[in-house]
């Protein structure tokens, strides 16, 4: 399972990546290049919270592409799990997409992985709780719900 994700980190321009199950378990993360590990984890959780909101608008798999001045955040949110990748602006999105598609397909075909995700009942919405966000954001969550 791990080596499939290692490939993603091998792509030029990828700083770090995280894989979360919807029940909150962090399955995998790589050591970030030039960023604090806890900070990255918090960022990844924020991205999954965005997924919780996106799910409420249209329940499906999601792909996020967020371009900042000096970096990129990409995310692939599937039924039971979430992959968040932090990159330099120079990363090749095509290469990343290709690698991620193949890695996630391999992962979903993996027996052990299937067994683990079959036990997940929680949805991404479980990341959206009053206690882990500011009051303004929470009131927005309540409107969307």
């Amino acid at each position: 399972m791990k080596e499939k994700l290692e490939e993603i980190n091998g792509i030029a321009g990828v700083r770090t990546s995280f894989l979360f199950f919807n029940d909150g378990e962090l399955v995998y993360h790589s050591l970030p290049k030039g960023l604090d590990a806890d900070e990255c984890l918090e960022i990844a959780r924020d991205v999954v919270q965005m997924g919780g909101i996106a799910d409420r608008l249209s329940p499906s798999n999601h792909e996020f592409e967020i371009k900042f001045e000096t970096g990129r955040v990409y995310a692939w949110l599937h039924l039971h799990f979430n992959l968040v990748v932090l990159c330099d602006p120079t990363v090749s999105l095509s290469m990343l997409r290709l690698t991620v598609n193949v890695a996630l397909a391999d992962l979903e075909a993996d027996k052990k992985f299937q067994k683990r995700i079959s036990k997940i009942e929680a949805t991404r919405r479980s990341f959206l709780t009053r206690s882990n966000m500011d009051p303004e954001s929470w009131s927005l969550v309540e409107i969307v719900s």
Binding site: E39, E69, R97, L98, N101, V102
Partner: protein, 264 residues
């Protein structure tokens, strides 16, 4: 009188909060939080007496905290300093802090990230600019070529923030400029045999229409088989995969191509 004051640093700068508390004659502990970082400033008898931030204590901690422009603050009127780490007069401390924040804002406008590379311009410092020893030290570290702020900080064993201030000075003096983020690379072209392999695989998946699709995609990318750049292969694969409607075949093609790209 309200017992607890709290708020957002995006609206109220740290120096403003401290001034507000001082003007209100409050004693206590100002707790600051920015993402995962925490800091504390202690006020007693109209003076700032103690500050803590990361490993810093006293004035260095205060200097760091005044630069925080996001995060939260909360005031705890019962907090008392465990020690006195700041002797400087509070007005001087605050005015220095405010000046520093101004400098810092200017620095951030030229250096948006510690990862952006800089290089020497090999020009003389612009009229009247006197470089200090530390400025020369950073400039000398750029002799090896392009470096980012965090590279330089690592080399010189300085803090990122301090290096950023120096680099800012050097940019303003005209002796340093932004480097080429993308270094000039020799454009590598893929072997024509590569397209044969791709074509064979694609024919197996979707039939004889494969070669037409490949040519269409190459053309739409403004390229030709004989001079196709290696760096564009992932985009090519993505575009071709988009033409395969059966998801299983699409994945099979992507898996195959990923192996091919790795062996290029």
């Amino acid at each position: 009188m309200s017992s607890v004051l709290s708020g957002n640093l995006a609206f109220l700068e740290v120096t403003s909060v401290v001034k507000l508390l001082l003007s209100d004659g409050q004693d206590g502990r100002l707790i600051l939080q920015q993402e995962n970082e925490n800091g504390e400033i202690y006020i007693e008898g109209g003076q700032v007496v103690h500050a803590v931030c990361h490993a810093y204590i006293g004035e260095p901690a205060f200097r760091e905290l005044v630069l925080w422009t996001s995060g939260k603050f909360a005031f705890d009127p019962d907090g008392r300093a465990s020690q006195k780490s700041i002797e400087k007069d509070v007005n001087q401390l605050i005015s220095e802090g405010a000046q520093q924040l101004e400098v810092w804002k200017r620095v951030r406008s030229l250096i948006p990230s510690y990862k952006v590379p800089f290089r020497k311009t090999n020009r003389e410092p612009e009229g009247g600019v006197k470089l200090k020893a530390r400025d020369w030290e950073v400039l000398a570290a750029l002799d090896d070529g392009e470096s980012s702020v965090s590279d330089l900080a690592g080399k010189l064993n300085m803090r990122d923030m301090d290096v950023a201030v120096v680099v800012h000075t050097l940019i303003e003096a005209g002796v340093v400029e932004a480097g080429t983020a993308a270094r000039p690379v020799h454009k590598e072209v893929v072997d024509e045999k590569f397209f044969k392999t791709v074509e064979n695989e694609l024919i197996q998946l979707i039939g004889p229409v494969a070669s037409i699709i490949i040519d269409d995609v190459i053309e739409s990318m403004g390229e030709a088989r004989s001079t196709f750049p290696r760096e564009k292969v992932p985009s090519l694969v993505e575009a071709i995969a988009g033409e395969i409607y059966d998801p299983a075949k699409q994945l099979a093609f992507q898996q195959f191509m990923l192996r091919q790209i790795k062996s290029l």
